[in-house]
Structure formats: structure tokens, C-alpha cells
């Protein structure tokens, strides 16, 4: 039986899980932004990672086919996206019911209008999201359920009019959290098969679509190739799904890390500091890493590592989280933007407005003042992004500076404006240093945890213990 190892990183904003195999290769990753208790967050992230792992195993079965025919890869990818949509739909149905229930309990005099508006919104956004999932790439944007729904929901509410604004927003606020925090179990096999059926419809429909010039030629060429050939691999896939769906993803050991680690029901030796895990994960992906900067939700860590990926020293922000992810979250709220929109918006700046205060709370007041004075939004955002990177740079300096190679991890590494300033400032202060940024930067802590889990087993077999915990 294959052995797998699980790392769970319970951060202040998101919880991440990574499953690796015996060769330290990532086979599954899962992430959730649920703010439920850490046990639920860990379970959700782990389940996500297990689904992801099954997809990895499934892809491995048809690896040869995929190598020879790139369109099969595309087909697999499509299945995963639709699978995510199916998961999304299950949760969306629950949210719709919850929204209606919440509105039903309102004591507003215009309750009827509220409920009608709610129905209208739901009926508008549901097909929108479906279309984006199936025909676009919403599933691969790493967006959370809350982000996807709230963006569309808020847009529709804004169109409806002022008098219904407050009750509609209240209904959403009251409904989203319990739904987000709910453990929803999915049947892998059922969902994959449903996804394949949904794709059949999609591919059939392709013939009717005009090549309207909105996508590049290669896009249509590839899709056409998928449409014409997917049946060949679909047959093989169906044969494997049964196997994979029932395969025991045997977690031989696990390690928990992150802020919530102490709350995990794990044995003591299965709990590791996030400093060590981030460093180890980053070093595993980029073995020449000597300095790691991790900007997470509530803390920023500057870590120095040796050639084995072991921490030699570290420095963390204290007393103030102004340079962290939560700061960006707060700023996003101030501007009424989603987190994903912050970076692109900041990158439109023509100059960086100087933000004097890097205190999260004061920055809010400063932003209002600047907007009032007619300062452009992108310029203010650029200034804010620069400010948080400056704080991170000061932390790096305290920890001993940047040594070659430099790896940037954590959720904030996904923000393109932060990335830009990190690159600029590292170059200007430390010269030509190789900088590593991975698309999976947010998973580095969980990866490090999983790698520690594998090594712990080697040192002292704790399989039984880990299994007990898992069950």
C-alpha cells in the first residue's frame, strides 16, 4: 500500500493541507478560508487535499495518454474545473436555502420585496457562475466560495436600489458564515462522473458556438481537439475512476502547524512551528533557498535557512500586524474591493502615494483623507502595498538580510503588487539575488509539515498514532 503524509497549516486567515507521497512529491492540496473552529477547518482542508490527491492519481493512470496527446491534459483539467463547480453548486444550494430562510425571518415591512429580490439575484448569479466555471477558468483562480459569490451578489444588490440594500446585505452576511463553515461531504466518484457528463454537454455545444474572436486561435484548436478525441480517453478514465475513488489514501503520519496548531488534536510530536515548516517547505521546492520571507494573514516571518533547509534564525513582527495579509484585507474592505482585485488595481498606479502611517487602523483614516483630496485609487493602493513591503524589508534586515537564493511564500505572495515591490526592494538593497516565487506559495507551510511528517515516521514509526488521530 502506498503511504502518504499530511501537513496541515492552520493560519490566521486560511487553513491549508498538503499530501505528499514517499518521494516528497505533492499529490494533493486543499485550502479553506472557513472561520469555523480549527478542527473543522483542518477537516475541510484535508478533505480538499484528498480529492485533489485522487485527481493526481487519476491523472497518473492516464499519464502516457496525456503525454502523447495534450488535449487529454486539457480534458483532465476541464474535469477538475467542473468538479470544483459541482462542489461549489452543492454549497451554493445550501446558501440559497439559507438566504431564503434568513430573509423569511426578517421583520422588515417590505419582506416580500426582499424575498423577490433575493430570488431574482439567485436566478441571475447562478447561471453566471456556472458559465464562468465551465467556459472560463474560475475554478483555477484559487478563489474561495465566499469571494466568488459575494462579488456577484454585491454587484446585483447594487443594481437593485437603495431601500433593499441593507436587508439584502444583512441576509448575505448572516447566511454566508454558517454555510462556509459547514463540512460538506462529497462523493468523489459521483461528482467526477457528473462532471464528465456536464462536459459532454459542453463539448456538444461547442459546434454551435461562433469563433467570435474573443479567444485566441489556439484555444479553439485545442478545444476542438478535445471535442474530437476525448471519447478515447474517457473510456480509459471511467475504468480507473472506480479504483481511484475507492483507493485508501493511507495517511501514515501527519504534522500540524500554524497559529491553530496547539488546538489540533494531534500528539505533541506531530505539532511543529510554522517557522520550521515554512522554511522546510520553501527549501524543498527551491533547494538553494537561504532566506525565506513569509507574509501570512497576521504575521510576517523572515527566516534564514541552511543548506539542509533547517532554520538558523528567524524574526517575526511583534505587537503590530500592519505589514500582513490582514492589513490588505482591511484595505480591501475600505475600498470595497475583493482581495484578488487589490494587486491589479495597485499596478495601474502612475505613482505611489506616500502613506505615512503603516498602522492598519490609521491607514484606513488616511485612505479616506487621501480619497477626499482627490488622490487616485490605484496610486493610494500602490502606496499601501509599498508600505507593507517596507515593513517586511525592515524585518528581513533585522533577521540578517537577504542571502542568495530568496524565496517568498505565504498567501500575500499571490498579490502581484506586493510581488513587484518585494522584487524591487530586494534588488535595490541586496543586489542581484535569485528570487523564487511559486504559484503554490501559500502551501509552503503545509508542505513543510507533510515533509516533517514523513521524516518523523522514519525516526519513530507513529503510523498507528497518526491513524488514530485521523479517525
Amino acid at each position: 500500500m502506498n503511504k502518504y503524509y499530511l501537513g496541515i497549516d492552520l493560519g490566521s486567515t486560511t487553513s491549508k493541507a498538503v499530501i505528499i507521497n514517499e518521494h516528497d512529491e505533492i499529490v494533493g492540496r486543499g485550502i479553506t478560508n472557513t472561520r469555523a473552529n480549527y478542527k473543522v477547518a483542518a477537516d475541510i482542508a484535508r478533505d480538499e487535499a484528498v480529492y485533489d490527491a485522487r485527481f493526481t492519481l487519476l491523472s497518473a493512470r492516464i499519464n502516457k495518454d496525456m503525454e502523447s496527446k495534450p488535449e487529454f491534459k486539457r480534458y483532465m483539467n476541464d474535469i477538475r474545473l467542473v468538479f470544483r463547480f459541482q462542489q461549489f453548486t452543492r454549497r451554493m444550494e445550501k446558501l440559497e436555502a439559507m438566504l431564503k430562510k434568513t430573509a423569511d425571518e426578517f421583520a422588515y415591512v417590505n419582506k416580500g420585496a426582499i424575498c423577490d429580490a433575493l430570488d431574482k439575484i439567485i436566478n441571475t448569479i447562478r447561471p453566471q457562475i456556472r458559465s464562468e466555471f465551465i467556459h472560463g477558468d474560475l475554478g483555477s483562480k484559487n478563489q474561495f466560495f465566499r469571494d466568488i459569490v459575494s462579488e456577484k451578489y454585491n454587484f446585483e444588490v447594487a443594481k437593485i436600489g437603495k431601500e433593499l440594500y441593507e436587508p439584502l446585505m444583512l441576509a448575505f452576511d448572516k447566511s454566508i458564515t454558517p454555510i462556509e463553515n459547514e463540512m460538506v461531504q462529497y462523493n468523489f466518484k459521483e461528482l467526477v462522473l457528473e462532471s464528465m457528463s456536464a462536459l459532454e454537454d459542453k463539448y456538444k455545444g461547442l459546434a454551435d458556438q461562433q469563433e467570435d474572436g474573443s479567444k485566441e486561435d489556439w484555444y479553439w484548436a485545442e478545444l476542438n481537439a478535445v471535442r474530437n478525441n476525448y471519447k478515447n480517453v474517457e473510456y480509459t478514465l471511467r475504468q480507473h475512476i472506480e479504483d481511484i475513488a475507492s483507493e485508501d489514501i493511507h495517511i501514515a503520519n501527519m504534522v500540524g502547524t500554524g497559529y491553530g496548531r496547539a488546538l489540533l488534536p494531534f500528539p505533541e510530536d506531530c505539532i511543529k512551528s510554522e517557522i520550521l515548516c515554512h522554511a522546510f517547505g520553501a527549501h524543498a521546492v527551491f533547494p538553494n533557498t537561504r532566506t525565506v520571507l513569509d507574509i501570512g494573514g497576521q504575521d510576517t516571518k523572515a527566516i534564514q535557512v541552511d543548506s539542509h533547509g533547517l532554520v538558523t534564525s528567524f524574526h517575526m513582527n511583534d505587537r503590530c500586524a500592519a505589514g500582513c495579509g490582514r492589513y490588505l484585507g482591511y484595505i480591501a474592505d475600505e475600498f470595497g474591493l475583493s482581495l484578488n482585485e487589490l494587486g491589479p488595481e495597485a499596478n495601474k498606479a502612475t505613482k505611489e502615494t506616500t502613506i505615512c502611517s503603516t498602522c492598519t487602523v490609521f491607514a484606513g483614516a488616511e485612505v479616506k483623507e487621501l480619497l477626499h483630496n482627490g488622490e487616485e485609487r490605484p496610486n493610494i493602493l500602490a502606496g499601501l502595498h509599498k508600505a507593507i513591503v517596507q515593513r517586511a524589508m525592515s524585518l528581513i534586515a533585522r533577521s540578517g538580510g537577504v542571502k542568495n537564493e530568496f524565496t517568498f511564500t505565504g498567501g500575500v505572495a499571490r498579490n502581484e503588487a506586493v510581488l513587484k515591490y518585494v522584487k524591487d526592494m530586494v534588488r535595490s538593497s541586496y543586489g542581484d539575488v535569485k528570487m523564487n516565487i511559486h504559484t503554490d506559495s501559500i502551501f509552503m507551510g503545509a508542505l513543510g509539515g507533510a515533509m516533517f511528517a514523513r521524516r518523523n515516521t522514519e525516526l519513530q514509526p507513529s503510523t498507528e498514532k497518526a491513524q488514530t488521530v485521523l479517525n
Partner: protein, 431 residues
């Protein structure tokens, strides 16, 4: 459950000394003894004693208030009187305590000062502190003895002479005038003999951490050990007796192979040996200590226990050169050493006591300790390749002690140490 702290004979002796002093302080009206407020670093307790005066140490009162959970209220009181949030919290705690009636650590009212003696100016806040006290006690005489900083890493004959001159011309005459006692050099010499002897014992005591397991914690328990010399008993036969007794008790532990005593009894397993730079946090002293002993960490040396005198490098009071000895003592204070000297001292501790790591506790409101701490840490890390850790807290302001932050940093630090110890023992990256 916390056990009742184990009472050793030395602890009883110390308690008697402290109680005796505070009792005497409450009776000054009857006895007519004069009171001299002064600071721990560079304290001229022998000279104060020569004139039969009684010392009061505002810093000690502040830390005692913090341990008794009173500092928060005192600080608020001082802030109400316009002391800024960023001012040294020892100062604010002291000022607040005065404003609330100047009730000392034993619950008795402290007498007003007759002299405010500032014998050390490496910490410039000390000057401002006494300027503030002077306004509160306009009748007190102020003596400012300037101590030259060891900028070039040594005490030159000129520096000593400069200080002796101040002692002769500015300090002693005022003390004679206030106390009504004539300066008696023979008496000072005999007091200094005890100081020299106490210094010898202290050096021996803090050197016992070379044993494994270390019989004492040189930081958390160390602050109690330096109590007598930091509250004015240096130069007394009682202090010598205390240190002799303490040394014997410690050697008894060494013979039995015992580790240090903690508030929860004896520490069973010594996993990590650390050297700590910076004062401890006093508001959450027990909690702070617990994080260390729970993880099996023992502090084998600390810079803080050297604030009242550095005896590690061989220096002692020389009774035959009494005023020169006092001058040297002041200049030789830990925070009056330049950074390379401090690095040398700490490096010696790390090497001699085979420390696994070096931790800095950076104090928000203490300039004299904080300046250069990071640079020292980097230098020590580079030179000795010892894993370093950095935490932040404050002296006596409870608002600046974040238990979860400190615990989080220290947990990470200890895991890092354990990883590295594993590598050290296996010589391969089996993490």
C-alpha cells in the same frame, strides 16, 4: 499544580536582610538615619553604608510592584500626570507609586529621600528620573556622579582619576553634610573587604552552571541571587554569609546531580542551555519563566544578573584603593561596557557554559539595554554559530507582555534548537 516554593536556608537569610532593611527604612524618623535613593547599576552601596545611610532603589521597587501586579495601576497614574507612553516603565511605575503614597514592596511607607545619588549615567533616563524626583522632593540633595563610558573598551588611569576627583569633591562632602558623619576611609576599606569576598562568591555561584545539568537557572533564579548586592547589602558580612550558604546549597545540588529549582519544583530534564541578554519581564515573571522550564530550557548565564556588578572577568573591589575601586566598579557596569566588551563577555559565557543557544529579550522601554542588542546578536551568531532567538516584552508595563506571541516565538526557537541538536548528533539532515 504549582508546588510551594522550596525554602532553602539562603532564602531565609535573604528574606531577613530585605525585611531588616525595610524595617529600618520605616524607622528613620526615630533613628535619624538618612536615606539615599540610588540606582542598581553603579550603586555606591559601600559609600552609603560608610555614612550610615540607608539605600532605596527605585528600580527594585518598580520590579517588586510589577511582581505584585501593581505596576499597571502605577503606570496609569504616572501617565495621568503627563508621562508619555514611551517613557521607561520603571520610571513611570516609580513615579506612580510615589503619587499613590510611596508604599514599598513590604507594604510599608518608604521615607522621603535626603539624597538622590546618581552614580551612573550610561542610562540617560536615570538623569531625567532623578530630575523628576527632585521636583517631587525639593529638599533632597542631588549628587550626579558622572561615569565615563568605556568607549575604547578599557578603564584608563585618567578615567579613574576623573571619577575619584568627583567622589572626593562632590560626592563625599555632600554625604558628610547630609548625614553628619565624617568620611572614614578605614571603615570604607573594611566594608570593601566584604564586597570583594561577596564578589568572589558570586563569581563562583554563577560559574556552577558549567555543570551538567546546571544546578541553577542563572536568569530567572539568578535575579533572586543578585538581590542582596542589588539592594545595598554588598559590603556586609550578611551578604558574604548569604552567598557562602547559597554556594554550598548549589554545590550540594551539583553533587546530587540535580537541576535547577523552579516554582513548580525541581526541573527534571535539561534539554537546552541558553544564554539570555536583556532584563526579564516582571509583570508576568512566573509565566515567562514557565515557558522556559516547561520546555526544559535552563539559562546558564544572563547579562541581566551582571547589572549590579560584572565579576566574570576577574575584576573585584580592591579595599586598598577604596575610591578607585568604587570608580572602577561604576565603569565596569554591564551597560557601561562597549558593545565589543559585552560581546566578549557573552561569548565567554556561551563557550564556558556550553550553551546551545542565545536569546535576546528586547525591552520596549529600556534604551540602555536595547541599543546594540541586534548588532550584538548578529555578531555572536556569526562568530560562534550559535542559534539565536529574539523576543520582545517590557519591564513592568503589563500591556506589553504578549504571552501568545512570546510563547509562539520561543516554541519555534526551541524546535529549531532541537532540530539542530539532532543534526549535530547525527551529522546528517535527519530532521
Amino acid at each position: 499544580m504549582a508546588q510551594e516554593a522550596q525554602k532553602e536556608k539562603s532564602m531565609v537569610l535573604q528574606k531577613e536582610m530585605v525585611e531588616g532593611l525595610f524595617n529600618e527604612l520605616t524607622k528613620v524618623k526615630e533613628t535619624g538615619k538618612k536615606v539615599c535613593y540610588t540606582f542598581v547599576p553603579g550603586n555606591l552601596s559601600e559609600l552609603i553604608r560608610t555614612f550610615d545611610m540607608l539605600p532605596v532603589y527605585p528600580e527594585i521597587n518598580a520590579l517588586q510592584s510589577a511582581m505584585r501586579k501593581l505596576s499597571g495601576g502605577y503606570i496609569k497614574e504616572a501617565e495621568k500626570h503627563a508621562h508619555s507612553e514611551d517613557v521607561c516603565t520603571y520610571v513611570k511605575c516609580d513615579v506612580g507609586m510615589m503619587l499613590k503614597g510611596n508604599i514599598g514592596p513590604t507594604g510599608q511607607k518608604l521615607p522621603d529621600p535626603d539624597i538622590l545619588l546618581l552614580s551612573y549615567t550610561g542610562c540617560f533616563t536615570f538623569m531625567k528620573w532623578f530630575e523628576t524626583l527632585k521636583r517631587e522632593y525639593p529638599d533632597a540633595r542631588v549628587i550626579m556622579l558622572h561615569t565615563p563610558y568605556q568607549e575604547n573598551g578599557k578603564m584608563t588611569p585618567e578615567m579613574i582619576q576623573y571619577m575619584v576627583k568627583q567622589l572626593q569633591e562632590e560626592v563625599i562632602p555632600v554625604m558628610e553634610e547630609v548625614s553628619g558623619v565624617k568620611y572614614d576611609e578605614t571603615k570604607l576599606k573594611s566594608i570593601l573587604k566584604h564586597s570583594k569576598e561577596a564578589g568572589d562568591w558570586i563569581a563562583r555561584i554563577f560559574d556552577t552552571t558549567k555543570h551538567k545539568p546546571s544546578p541553577i537557572d542563572a536568569y530567572f533564579a539568578g535575579v533572586y541571587y543578585i538581590g542582596p548586592i542589588n539592594i545595598g547589602f554588598r559590603g556586609t558580612p550578611e551578604a558574604v554569609e548569604y552567598y557562602k550558604e547559597l554556594y554550598n546549597e548549589i554545590m550540594d545540588r551539583v553533587k546530587k546531580g540535580l537541576g535547577p529549582i523552579t516554582p513548580e519544583g525541581e526541573m527534571k530534564e535539561e534539554k537546552y542551555r541558553l544564554v539570555v541578554e536583556g532584563p526579564p519581564n516582571w509583570t508576568n515573571f512566573r509565566e515567562f519563566w514557565k515557558i522556559f522550564y516547561d520546555m526544559g530550557a535552563v539559562i546558564v548565564a544572563s547579562s541581566y544578573t551582571k547589572v549590579g556588578g560584572v565579576y566574570d572577568m576577574g575584576w573585584r573591589h580592591d579595599p586598598e584603593r577604596p575610591l578607585e575601586a568604587l570608580a572602577e566598579y561604576c565603569m565596569n557596569c554591564y551597560t557601561n561596557l562597549n558593545l565589543p566588551q559585552r560581546i566578549e563577555l557573552l561569548s565567554k559565557c556561551i563557550t564556558d557554559y556550553k550553551a546551545d543557544g542565545y536569546v535576546t529579550n528586547s525591552i520596549k522601554s529600556c534604551n540602555s539595554f536595547s541599543a546594540g542588542q541586534l548588532a550584538m546578536m548578529r555578531e555572536i551568531e556569526d562568530k560562534l554559530e550559535v542559534p539565536v532567538g529574539f523576543i520582545e516584552s517590557d519591564l513592568v508595563d503589563p500591556r506589553y507582555f504578549s504571552y501568545s506571541n512570546i510563547k509562539n516565538r520561543l516554541e519555534s526557537y526551541f524546535q529549531m534548537l532541537s532540530q539542530r541538536k539532532l543534526i549535530g548528533s547525527e551529522k546528517e539532515p535527519a530532521v
